[in-house]
Symmetry: C3
């Protein structure tokens, strides 16, 4: 029957839900990592696995997108959304990798604070992305986007305070270089989450 | 009457003019900031206001774009132009914020030089963007783009000289880290202005 | 005759081949640079020439793209591919420029290793881009992309090891700042090469 060959539109929603779940996994695991004072090979390996899983789903979405003629929303929005969600997981992976390369103890009080806000923000991203599927969830999506924006502001203030303190208190320049990069990466995760809200906003306006 | 519901194309030009005016405001205020040797809360607040204003106009443009079927030039060019102009103001805001977080005196002779070139470049960006509205201004637009490109080269040379001098003369590594980031940000403002010329060029070619 | 005015589709392939050849030139010259212990003005000038040449071809491609109605593959893919290939040459130029500004001896054993991998990766990018022209080269294109991905992983490991060693062994923070930036730039070249494979993948899927 002909409709068997119609593009399965719903696939995109399923794939987006799976992809954003990977970003949540990364955030949850990041919180576990910064709860400990050392970073073993198993943790590095697990983080890498999560990143690979996200990568693979992003790859599926792009391939599906390139093959599908009709999509639930604009092709460019689907592409942009996938790339941003992938960037979230990538950046968390990058932070964990830097902690290892720089031989830093993960359990830093400022990084712990960032990890909490990062998890909150990514859970809000999950709400927003899940909500794209059903039109009735529109309010929920909007609320999630407001929350993500709020958390990005929280992150900005945290980064400023943390960097100010870092330059004030830490006198070893090599240590300053290392932590500065990691704190800025942590804030970048929240920036990327905010970028997601811009794409979600663009999708909502077009469907209004 | 039906035509009342036609998209008001001219809105985009009005909005772009308003948005680029905000970038000019940011540049002018940045020059005021680097003329003084300290950065008070009122200045930080004013800079933040300018950035918010730019943000809000960019948001209006994207929303308008998503709702409008016919646009004066390619949708992707409108989107790209808005994002770049927004990035100009954002980057200036970032520099001012870093001066505060790093507790640096704004009145640095190299930063003053950058502020002058930044204002020149953004005024040329304003000319180019304003000129998109009327076809008769085509030469003016092209001249402005040539000037922006020239100023980006000036900025590159300034950054190289400034960084060379920084590593040569400043022996406190923490101070080097701070100023290096700020000088590179300053040069990035000029890079973003140059990116605007690429989008403007793409618009001109399509309308030729 | 009418067909004289038809868009010359093949132009894009010729232009891409020319552009990617410039990136190869940059990689080859970079290897020559890191083989010597000093960087003279002639080398700086030659590197700048290569970068300008790449820039000029990228400009031609974008202009051609804006004027051409029918293109061999998606407009957005052509645009993205040009930008990425341009970014490769730009980043190599940036590294050479930093070596000069930071007054560093190019002949650093780690940078030499990076230069080898960078050249290998860009030669694979050349194979992939050349192969887009003829459908029969599909396997060759896919193999080249796999190789680029492999070299990106090699580069990641090299960067991690090199940065670990840098913070371990070099005690002068100013030297750490300089080399850290250069090693990260070197790895970025390989990242950009990998970005090319994503665009190539997108082109292949659409033509399947």
């Amino acid at each position: 029957m002909f409709f068997k060959f119609l593009p399965k539109e719903f696939n995109f929603f399923d794939l987006f839900d799976k992809q954003v779940k990977t970003a949540v996994d990364a955030a949850v695991f990041f919180r576990e990592i910064v709860a400990k004072n050392s970073l073993d090979d198993a943790a590095i390996e697990k983080m890498k696995d999560i990143e690979h899983q996200g990568d693979s789903i992003a790859h599926d979405i792009i391939e599906q997108l390139n093959k599908t003629f009709i999509t639930p929303f604009d092709r460019e929005d689907i592409h942009a959304l996938t790339v941003e969600i992938d960037d979230i997981t990538d950046m968390i992976h990058t932070i964990v990798n830097r902690l290892k390369v720089y031989k830093l103890p993960p359990n830093d009080k400022n990084l712990v604070k960032f990890a909490v806000v990062i998890e909150q923000s990514i859970r809000a991203v999950e709400l927003a992305v899940n909500g794209l599927r059903k039109h009735k969830n529109l309010n929920l999506v909007t609320e999630a986007c407001v929350e993500i924006k709020r958390l990005e502001n929280v992150g900005n203030a945290m980064r400023d305070e943390t960097l100010g303190e870092l330059f004030e208190k830490v006198k070893d320049p090599l240590l300053v270089i290392k932590w500065k990069e990691i704190y800025q990466d942590a804030e970048t995760v929240l920036d990327i989450c905010e970028d997601v809200t811009h794409i979600v906003g663009s999708i909502l306006v077009k469907q209004a």
